[in-house]
């Protein structure tokens, strides 16, 4: 299936190391211009070219292998032209490891959603969809912008990430089938245009980028299968599933992944977009997914919440006021190796940056460690029992929503 890599690995080659005999889980290595990525992998989100509160060095110390940045946000401010002028995202942010940029598609539509997304052709919130692209208003100043598949490729070429995403329409989870189909068809046409523009751009570019198309189709099984087949045929270095974890029930999400997965090329990394609770990571690795991203780890930290093996906890609770123990007893992160719950609680209560930093370090470390453990367990063939044990402790206390 996968190409051999005896001497030098080929750029964007994906090599499967081990397949779990009891599930669809697998481990692998994806080669990018800025380094290899061990999968399954969680990618911390650095929306504006910074994983909130962290330095690039701190991320590397935690074992982060790749981060994500947002095309939509960076396009609006400071602008992709500036970042290109400064030598691209890697040089500008001093982040030496691989970077993935999304296409801006999700943000364009989620913004509209926030302002009153309506099923059908008419949408509120200043968003206008045509076959050519999407007109939207900046969430910063209301200024009007127009994204096409070609534009999304041009912006991402300027940003210079290792992995870039096709421009897609992310239809809401409660879309009617007819609308879901229409959005999917548009996403397919746009993916083809993205591929064409990307190939054109790569010819004159010095940096190599891998384009991933995005499977859509809401939770309609036949649409998802049709979309998976279509995107697989584009034969790009990886493939993503979008439009999940957008409000539908967990079971529906898992079911949709199970439906799609057999139709994805096996020898390419599968990126499940926007998913990143500990529970979901386990469930979706089991269902054959390789790459994940989610803002939850950093966002929860800013709101004073941290994970441990029992679930999530809010450090602001009164019971932690005089608690001299670390967030997690067996955690090796900087926060846990040094500070007490009592002190971190005080920092968060006072909105002190150090509190946010410590919880962010802990939460990202928690997910990266979980993924490392998952990889190890797959290699050992014991992933299923690891998952079962983890979720037994995890769910019986404070579950995720």
């Amino acid at each position: 299936m996968q190409k051999s890599c005896n001497i030098l690995p080929e750029m964007f080659e994906f090599k499967i190391n081990k397949k779990d005999p009891h599930s669809r889980a697998r481990t692998g290595v994806f080669v990018t211009p800025h380094g290899k990525i061990q999968t399954p992998i969680f990618m911390p989100v650095g929306t504006l070219g910074t994983v909130k509160s962290m330095t690039p060095d701190e991320l590397i110390d935690l074992g982060s292998q790749i981060i994500l940045a947002n095309t939509y946000h960076l396009y609006l401010r400071p602008g992709h032209k500036l970042i290109k002028k400064m030598g691209g995202l890697h040089k500008w942010t001093c982040f030496k490891d691989p970077i993935l940029t999304d296409s801006g598609g999700f943000q364009v539509f989620s913004l509209a959603q926030e302002k009153g997304y309506v099923d059908g052709k008419k949408r509120k919130g200043g968003i206008k969809i045509t076959e050519d692209g999407v007109e939207f208003q900046s969430h910063l100043d209301g200024s009007k912008h127009f994204f096409t598949p070609e534009k999304a490729m041009q912006i991402q070429s300027d940003l210079g990430a290792d992995i870039i995403m096709a421009f897609d329409e992310c239809a809401p989870g409660d879309s009617t089938k007819s609308y879901a189909k229409e959005a999917m068809k548009r996403t397919h046409a746009w993916a083809k245009r993205c591929k064409k523009e990307h190939e054109k751009l790569q010819k004159k570019a010095k940096h190599r980028q891998a384009l991933f198309p995005i499977v859509q189709g809401v939770t309609y099984k036949d649409l998802r299968i049709e979309s998976a087949k279509f995107m697989a045929e584009l034969d790009l270095p990886g493939i993503a599933i979008g439009g999940l974890s957008v409000g539908e029930k967990k079971e529906k999400m898992y079911e949709t992944i199970e439906t799609v997965e057999p139709h994805l090329p096996e020898n390419k990394p599968r990126y499940l977009m926007g998913v990143g609770t500990p529970e979901d990571l386990l469930e979706c690795v089991e269902r054959g997914m390789d790459m994940f991203d989610c803002v939850l780890a950093t966002r929860l930290a800013r709101h004073g919440t941290y994970w441990d093996k029992n679930g999530r906890h809010c450090i602001k609770k009164e019971k932690f006021k005089a608690d001299s123990s670390p967030l997690c007893k067996n955690c090796d992160c900087y926060a846990c190796s040094k500070f007490s719950k009592s002190y971190i609680r005080h920092l968060i209560a006072e909105n002190e940056i150090l509190g946010i930093r410590l919880l962010t370090i802990h939460n990202i470390n928690f997910l990266l460690n979980l993924m490392q453990k998952i990889r190890e367990e797959i290699e050992k063939g014991s992933f299923k029992s690891f998952k079962r044990n983890f979720l037994k402790n995890y769910k019986h206390r404070q579950g995720e929503k």
Copy 2:
């Protein structure tokens, strides 16, 4: 003058290393339970038990020797009793170096000032001064509290810093002479009570603390001299000058220090409270001051401002948008050794924590380096010419106010 220190240095001994032949500047070493302090020294401010945005390790990496924490703030939240229960400030914050706590006096009065401080006995803002102490309202929830000299000592004993401050009344810079005198007399009476209470507390305490009294008297020379003499006679391990840098003109501040200084014990560290612009540090070291603190370094950072040898600069300026150079070319701090002005500008414009962190590191490093340089120049006998050269570059560009 100073005691010899051939074998083990005595706790709170102050040893003068070198006196500048051309000014009142001197270098020295002050011995505290958590380590020696090389003077002249700048103390970063950690109001709530954290130097905003920084870890204790980052501070130590920058060469910080001692930090300051605020009695008023920590008393209100999380409360000194909790901190005592958690083992004191050092253990709770994981800061291993010396800590100084102020008495809360300044905050009690500056709060009233913010709410409409009026010269005379009647004051707005819920503050009521008696000979016994001060009733004030919390800036957090308006709750009423009463601080006495004894209470200020008890709180600071619980916090457990190496250096603690006497409870004083900080009269406004525009006070009438009669009011300034009244406030000074009260401060003298309170200092005696502080000393008595402190001695009582130290008898049963395990940790050794040095109490510093605070010279007051607004900018009235005879009052300042009277206050300096009174405080000197208390024969405590150090002495502070309070009530300056509170709105009076720079020249008035320098003049007042020149008036006070000859009346301070030479063999004890002199702490000039709340002063910390590069310019003021130089001017006041020249006038015989040894210890300084100021929130400016961290506060300016949060507002996007940094120092270099030419003055202060706002990183948000348009001209820095595509500037690939570091904040300072010859600076060895993490921010300057890694990141461009362009990227830091973006981070600050987006209110990203990393931006605040980088400017904080740079600003604190700038002041700590300046103090180190000052110590070296005093040792070499070239302090005056160093100061002259520094201020020639510094003032002709963008001066401090």
